[in-house]
């Protein structure tokens, strides 16, 4: 009962963010006198970009024929970039990680292929406006638990309902690869033998799951009686075994990555590697198997005491040089859901340590779009793509830069957020006290 009251209290406190979702774009907009960073092509200075009905119509200089009602916005000194994409987070599935009632990202059990992230994405989460304020327009919201966690969805950070916000679902089937090495940590209670046993059991389980999923797939397509009864779990695996839905395998250790790549190749699955802490050691395997990598955070400690201090800063550079497809995400943990706005700085650090700057920018825009299979709509500024873009006073990878306006599918997003409201509220306090102007 006590917990229930607490939950009610919290829910009422956090019920809805104060920002109002933007209406559909109802007139064409031209941004002019801006520097346009299409990401997919060369930078246009003194450029113009025209979008209408949520789509980019034209990019260039002095666009001659403007549709009727075009709103012309001149932005000298400003820059336009495609909205950034955070490719690995539980944003929308958690509000305050320490408060259990607000945690919705980990279903119980080890085999949950059927759970879908988008259905419990809370469009009124206070975390969402805070995140988009810094130019992050789209997130991949990922369930987290067990061996097979469920399917992720690409969510646009604006909308009245989760359905409004969904850009694509499902994006991938998320698998958390078993730990391959024995942990000797004092926090791990299981003996080395037990750990190995468990690992081997899980590896076997992964193969068995695919066998059964294939059997189910065959059974539902066979013209026979009696009809195969619906099984939600196997049903959700059908597109995986058909190779239509990629598996997003979360793996960090080098042995995990090697094993996962072998498994996906043997099982003929379409694999994306998520995490990839040690990916830089096995770029040949990744390249050979055509496995893209969502590098989870550059802002993390080196994996081993003897490793280079800049190991994680340089991982993107090494993948880039080895011609492995990659993008950069922030930490996907629940603690970091509130901090996805710092995504561009993860990429910037890679650039500080050698990755070309334009690659760093792509690694949070175009590359994640490609890896998530949404590049036909977002990730770069190209005619025909969504007008999901933002205006800033400089390079968004620089912390000092400010993002001024975000458009998602041409909709002008409310740039307010909880932080700005509280800032304004207490600035007013000090104004009343005469402490500031």
């Amino acid at each position: 009962m006590k917990q229930f009251i607490l939950a009610i209290l919290i829910i009422s406190l956090l019920f809805a963010s104060d920002q109002i979702p933007a209406p559909r774009q109802d007139h064409p907009i031209l941004l002019k006198d801006v520097t346009i960073h299409p990401v997919s092509g060369p930078i246009l200075t003194q450029g113009e970009i025209l979008f209408s009905d949520g789509k980019i119509i034209e990019i260039g200089h002095r666009i001659s024929r403007l549709p009727e009602n075009t709103e012309i916005i001149s932005l000298p000194g400003k820059h336009v970039y495609p909205g950034m994409i955070a490719a690995n987070t539980v944003l929308g599935l958690v509000e305050v990680n320490a408060v259990r009632a607000t945690r919705d990202f980990a279903e119980v059990g080890s085999f949950n292929p059927n759970v879908r992230a988008e259905v419990s994405y809370n469009p009124d989460s206070e975390l969402i406006p805070v995140t988009r304020s810094n130019g992050v327009a789209i997130v991949l919201t990922v369930p987290q638990s067990g061996l097979i966690s469920g399917t992720s969805a690409a969510m646009m950070l604006d909308g009245w309902t989760w359905e409004d916000a969904t850009l694509k679902m499902p994006v991938g089937m998320h698998i958390r690869w078993p730990r391959m090495t024995v942990s000797h940590s004092r926090y791990v209670r299981k003996s080395p033998e037990e750990q190995k046993k468990e690992r081997d059991k899980q590896l076997k389980e992964l193969d068995e799951i695919l066998d059964k999923a294939r059997a189910y797939t065959q059974s539902i397509s066979a013209e026979k009686t009696p009809r195969q009864k619906m099984d939600l779990k196997w049903q959700s695996m059908v597109n995986v075994v058909k190779g239509e839905l990629p598996v997003f395998i979360h793996a960090n250790g080098v042995q995990q990555i090697e094993a996962a790549a072998e498994w996906a190749s043997r099982q003929k699955l379409n694999m994306v590697l998520v995490g990839g802490r040690d990916a830089w050691m096995v770029t040949d395997i990744l390249k050979k198997n055509n496995i893209p990598v969502i590098i989870e955070a550059t802002h993390k400690l080196p994996a081993r005491r003897w490793a280079n201090y800049d190991e994680s800063f340089k991982t993107p550079l090494i993948l880039y040089e080895a011609e492995v497809k990659f993008c950069i995400s922030a930490n996907g943990g629940a603690f970091q859901a509130a901090h996805q706005r710092n995504l561009p700085y993860e990429a910037a650090t890679a650039a500080a340590y050698g990755l070309p700057k334009d690659e760093a920018l792509k690694s949070v825009t175009l590359y994640p779009a490609e890896i998530l299979g949404i590049a036909d709509q977002v990730g770069s500024l190209e005619v025909g793509k969504d007008a999901t873009l933002f205006i800033s006073d400089g390079d968004p990878l620089e912390i000092m830069t400010r993002v001024e306006q975000l458009y998602i599918q041409g909709r002008k997003v409310d740039m307010g957020d909880r932080h700005k409201i509280l800032r304004d509220k207490y600035t007013e306090k000090y104004r009343q006290l005469g402490l500031i102007d």
Partner: protein, 1013 residues
């Protein structure tokens, strides 16, 4: 191994009080050991000597000595005699301690005597002998290694009690040499996170040790005072622990501290210095890493030979998880004893810490093979411990010494040698039953009767097991069912190769290398046979094997600290440094200067200006054209570089000190240097309202804990408020510790200061009204720290989130007349910035963390800049050993959220935290007279694209990308070399391989370290 002890007599009559049970036993006790090689003491050998033993005492030793007529002669030709070895630290690893139980083992125990110390880990008065019941098997194991005497120590507690000295013969009253032995045994024992008993951290243990030593002194004084003033004084509590301890301290008896790694030895020294203790160390095998420091202690170290298992590096992936430090330890550990001896440290060797005690001989032989001298090893087993432990008449084979001897079948310090017997107090203990007959070799055998045959027998004998072949011309027939016992020899063999269907059985009697016997052929007919020994069998493989197995001492020398990125030699200060043509972010009144030079002499900034002229060839010139130079960055809130962070057992633990547990070897130091950080405020965690004392360190990588301390920094202490303190997120098991609400937190803190005030008044400190007290006032480390706060000498760093609690604490402080130093985190500081400014506290905040727990849902990234604008001295901190590497860029968030200038933003991580820590007279800005702590950046330090190229502290280069690149190359080469060495070596670590450290070091430190979020 089967051992057999032959007891020549049951009791020693002289001191016998007990009535004789049955008949008197008067077996003669006079022996002569003849023809042995006698090592009387290290370096002294008598070949073919004689030892006369009478009633447990050595009566004579020498080449030619008088042999008394009543002595029973024992021929030990071919054997070597050593003085009986001394086990200097026999700690029995029994799981259930006899009369004391701690922690989770706790079951229903009898209530402790009322005179015991309040803390169950403090029992210096404990007499181990009362509960000591050695198992015969344990004694046999020690004897089989040559040990005849041991110092036995208790295995539980912090103050564990006096050690005892015993003989390792059959357990009898006369085995006890001293029940109140030479040393008080000490250990840094503590519970772990989640245990509710104090202490549950190393910090708490050290604080408890110190308080207990003070209490012992006080107890003595208080009792003395009471005895003189019984008419007007209450009696102080009777505490046997404190009484014992005070006596041990006064008599200057040694305290023997157990240590688990090299830095622990340095910790011991600090405690010993504080209380002027005579101390020994029970070592750990890592001493070689801090040899100079340990040498300077001029103490006695009891060293285990616990060498690491071999790393499993068969696959390159698995090899990754072994730290360089582990690989290097594998290579160097067996040289530890020899290096200590070479450094001139007095050591004794012990079997302690070995997973199996029997590994001792093998480990010792490895060290000998690597160059430990046999005499030194012998001394460490005999004369040195005898002297240190006060074992007069032991440790040598000499007239008048107790007849404790080790007899081996060869040189004890060579392979294949074995202890065959030991003598203890004149009693003989056979270690190994010698085979009745050694039948190994070639025999001519003649068989007649039912089978006629002349052939050769080839026999191999290992201990009592015999195997062999019957060689008939070129046919070799394997023998079966070979028996060699009770002077009889028997075997069978299949007749197939001799065209007989069935088995031939032969048996006979052995005497003087010949056998005569009979048998039965497969057809049932009788056989007669004889055999005689003709010579030994050659084993061609064995010698070769020995050759290849030879170990040699490690070619490595220690790094500072040991492992990757350690320095082979400590970097030295450049006496004169001239930085030319830099963009200098002074963080001082001069602002940002372009194209200027800075001159640093002896680690101090001497001059800043354009085109400085400094001549001399000894000037270290840095061309900083195009580079940005800033003060070394400062992190006002960090939890790395310490072996403990939270002593979370009590709500007030002001007595514990981070200073006591600094870990100068933490790789976090190097990584933070690589991000331009030079100074870090290491704070106690936030598990309780009044936590422990902080330590401000300079990141002088490679130095000792004492060496990294920023000595000029004023002392501070950690307070905490809110969810962590009231255990909101600790789970349902933690709902009873006071306080559980913010209301209670306020009361706990008030209560602490009320107690501190009473204490200060009792002491009559300046500024407090003296109150009358009868007994001498007990020194209280906890209250000392609180009084220092009241006196304004100790700065409060308070972990805080919500505005109500921030306001509350300023009110308490003002009620008690002091000012809070810094509100840490202070995520709702922006709501009460006017109050913080008015109170005069600083604020050190996260830039933009929020929403990870309920009390931070109102945290905003504008917090820092709003507080700054309203007039609060504000800094950004990391609270994370990862973020601490990127503080320059973190400062840029002050520009982003709040629009402060870049110059001002950098101050959030330079001069502002310096002011908050009270170290701004020395550091925090680049100005004349300040420390030469600076960072060279590739570009604007606030830019996301810049990186740190060099980090200097007081004119010493601690990090540079250039040297880092060299180190990487070296690390990679050395790993490869060591892995190759491991791969070609024999696996000497036993069946198990070394546990890799893996990513276990990779602990993300934050103030809730230990499990609270």
């Amino acid at each position: 191994m089967k051992t057999l002890s032959i007891i020549f007599l049951v009791s020693i009559s002289a001191a016998q009080v007990k009535p004789v049970d049955g008949l008197h036993d008067n077996t003669p006790r006079v022996f002569v050991l003849e023809n042995g090689k006698i090592i009387t003491q290290p370096g002294q050998v008598i070949d073919g000597g004689i030892i006369v033993i009478r009633n447990g005492i050595i009566e004579a030793v020498g080449k030619k000595v008088f042999v008394p007529a009543d002595a029973y002669k024992i021929d030990i030709s071919g054997k070597t005699v050593y003085p009986g070895f001394i086990e200097s630290y026999w700690k029995r690893e029994d799981k259930k301690p006899s009369s004391l139980n701690f922690g989770k083992e706790k079951k229903k125990v009898k209530p402790a005597p009322v005179t015991n110390h309040w803390n169950e880990r403090v029992h210096p008065e404990y007499r181990l002998i009362n509960d000591f019941q050695p198992k015969e098997k344990e004694l046999e194991t020690l004897r089989s290694l040559g040990f005849t005497v041991a110092q036995v120590v208790h295995n539980k507690g912090i103050f564990r009690g006096q050690s005892a000295l015993i003989h390792l013969g059959n357990w009898h009253p006369e085995s006890v040499i001293a029940e109140n032995g030479p040393a008080q045994i000490m250990a840094f024992e503590h519970g772990s996170w989640g245990d509710k008993g104090y202490p549950n951290s190393l910090m708490g243990t050290i604080a408890l040790m110190r308080q207990t030593f003070y209490d012992a002194q006080w107890n003595h004084n208080a009792r003395t005072y009471y005895n003189r003033n019984r008419d007007k004084t209450e009696s102080p509590d009777l505490d046997r622990a404190l009484e014992t301890l005070s006596a041990v301290m006064k008599s200057k008896l040694p305290f023997c501290f157990e240590t688990n790694q090299e830095l622990a030895a340095l910790r011991v020294q600090k405690i010993a210095n504080e209380f002027d203790l005579n101390f020994w160390l029970k070592g750990n095998g890592y001493e070689y890493r801090r040899l100079n420091e340990i040498k300077k202690m001029n103490t006695f170290v009891i060293v285990p030979l616990d060498y690491p298992e071999t790393p499993d590096v068969d696959s390159w992936e698995d090899a990754l998880d072994y730290d360089l430090e582990q690989l290097r330890h594998w290579d160097q550990a067996p040289d530890n004893a020899a290096r200590m001896i070479a450094a001139g440290i007095d050591i004794a060797l012990t079997t302690s810490d070995l997973k199996k005690r029997k590994q001792f001989h093998n480990s010792l032989l490895r060290s000998i093979e690597r160059g430990l001298s046999k005499d030194d090893a012998l001394a460490a087993l005999t004369t040195i411990p005898a002297k240190k432990l006060g074992l007069t008449n032991l440790g040598k084979v000499d007239k008048g010494y107790t007849a404790n001897l080790v007899i081996t079948d060869g040189d004890y310090f060579e392979k294949k040698s074995k202890v065959t017997e030991v003598w203890i107090q004149g009693k003989r203990y056979m270690i190994k039953e010698e085979p009745v007959h050694d039948v190994a070799g070639k025999w001519d055998i003649t068989i007649s009767g039912g089978l006629n045959l002349n052939a050769t027998l080839e026999l191999i004998q290992k201990d009592n097991k015999v195997s062999g072949k019957l060689v008939v011309d070129s046919t070799k027939i394997k023998l079966k069912d070979v028996e060699n016992e009770a002077h009889r020899f028997a075997f069978t063999f299949p007749g197939k190769d001799l065209d007989l269907e069935g088995i031939v059985r032969l048996s006979g009697t052995l005497q003087n290398k010949s056998i005569t016997g009979s048998g039965i052929a497969p057809d049932g007919s009788e056989i007669k046979w004889t055999a005689s020994w003709t010579g030994t069998l050659e084993d061609p493989d064995e010698n070769k094997k020995e050759e290849s197995k030879k170990e040699s001492s490690s070619e490595l020398t220690p790094l500072f600290p040991e492992g990757a990125y350690g320095f082979a030699e400590q970097p030295e200060q450049a006496k004169k440094i001239l930085i030319k043509n830099a963009t200098l972010w002074t963080s001082g009144s001069a602002g940002i200067l372009k194209n200027v030079d800075m001159f640093i002499r002896n680690g101090i900034i001497e001059k800043i200006g354009k085109n400085l002229k400094v001549s001399g060839s000894d000037v270290y010139v840095i061309d900083a054209t195009g580079k940005h130079v800033t003060p070394g960055l400062i992190d006002a809130h960090n939890h790395s570089s310490a072996f403990a962070i939270n002593e979370g057992t009590q709500s007030v633990t002001a007595e514990v000190r981070i200073y006591d547990v600094l870990n100068s070897d933490d790789i976090a130091i190097y990584r933070q240097l690589a991000g331009g950080l030079t100074i870090v405020n290491i704070l106690h965690g936030s598990a309780n309202a009044i936590g422990g004392q902080n330590a401000v360190i300079k990141l002088r990588w490679g130095q000792t804990p004492e060496g990294i301390l920023f000595k000029e920094a004023p002392p501070g202490i950690k307070f905490a408020l809110g969810e962590n303190v009231k255990q909101s997120n600790w789970g349902d098991d933690n709902t009873t510790r006071y306080p559980q609400t913010r209301m209670g937190v306020e009361q706990i803190i008030r209560d602490a200061f009320a107690a501190a005030t009473d204490y200060a008044e009792a002491l009559g400190l300046a500024g407090f009204e003296k109150t009358f007290s009868n007994l001498p006032v007990r020194k209280n480390l906890e209250l000392d720290a609180l009084v220092e706060i009241l006196q304004g000498k100790r700065m409060v760093h308070c972990h805080s989130y919500r505005q109500d609690e921030i306001l509350m604490l300023t009110r308490i402080a003002e009620d008690y007349g002091f000012t809070i130093g810094v509100f840490q985190h202070v995520l709702e500081g922006y709501k009460v910035a006017d109050r913080i400014a008015e109170h005069g506290a600083g604020a050190s905040t996260f830039t933009d963390w929020w929403s990870y727990k309920f009390e931070v849902i109102d945290a905003i990234p504008f917090n820092g800049t709003i507080m700054n604008e309203v007039g609060v001295l504000t800094s950004f901190n990391s609270d994370s050993n990862e973020l601490a590497r990127r503080m320059g860029k973190e400062a840029a968030k002050a520009v982003k959220y709040g629009g402060v200038s870049q110059e001002e933003a950098l101050k959030f991580v330079t001069i502002n935290p310096a002011k908050q820590l009270g170290i701004d007279p020395y550091v925090g800005s680049l100005e004349k007279g300040k420390h030469g702590d600076f960072v060279i950046w590739s570009d604007n330090p606030l830019s996301s694209y810049s990186y740190c190229e060099q980090t200097w502290i007081e004119g010493t280069l601690y990090f540079s990308t250039e040297r880092d690149a060299e180190m990487r190359k070296h690390i990679s080469d050395e790993r490869n070399m060591l892995i190759q060495k491991i791969l070609v070596s024999d696996d000497k670590g036993g069946e198990k391989s070394m546990k890799p450290n893996g990513d276990s070091h990779n602990h993300f430190y934050s103030c809730t370290e230990g499990g609270v979020h």
